[in-house]
Amino acid sequence: MTAVQVGNAVPKMSNGSPASHIIDDPCDGTITEFSMAPYYDDAEVAELALSTNNDRVLSMVGRALATEDRRFALGVRDVEDAWWSAHSNDPPEWVQSDEDPEFARVLAEHFSSSSHQCAVGRPDGWSAYGEEGD
């Protein structure tokens, strides 16, 4: 199981409201931890899924990925879906994966835009809420 850590500056609670107890804390934010599904980097299944356009979001993910990164399309789709539905109201601040640094890079690029830079690698001093050093 490939683990991915994501810096979350604006986490949210189950009702969709911002997790103010974390956001108002002097720390940077918290960490969302992903354990990726086995297919997250399956090139064959990714190409099959990208061969149709029934899911507009996946199609957009596929168009944005470099050819050599298209194998990560389903992994990016899963993180995108989970992130916005239940974990945060803002794009990730950083992404790290010791097991798959390439996937971390692809995720960081996916969540970066002209107005937001998502970094690769956990910055010094950034810890999970409630963790020592928080």
């Binding site: 969302t32 931890e33 599904a37 061969s51 029934n54 979001v57 899963d78």
Partner: protein, 149 residues
Amino acid sequence: MLYHEHYEPPADRWLEGEALLTNGGRDSVHKQIADTAAQPASFNYVALTANTSAASASDTTLAGEIVTGGGGLIRGQGTFAHTNGTNTSTITKTHTANGSDSLPVVVHKIGIFNASSSGTMGFETVLNADATLSASGDNLTTTDTLTAG
């Protein structure tokens, strides 16, 4: 308090459905939290069905579960995520239909299990909008949110 809700954005929509923690799932959660004996496996396998019956806490299987051998719509392990300091975690799964699947199929309900076959069905969710998969390559991404505390 522990409950379960469903989120599914196929294409450009955000859909939600009312999910149900089954009796078996409730027992397993208690054992996972505190049992001193061997604990039940985690619930992260997602199954699909076209069956249109209502979800029930007493259900132990997903009626009409898609089990086509070699198909892409069969039960499979999803992506787990949790944000430290919050009361939610998610299971996200993208099913991709392939040439072995019997299509078209209209997915109406999903089940979350703790094994790739058999096992305990911990959650059952009726989608609030059916998802139609018509051709090989068509895919469906579902995210279930588990809330505790």
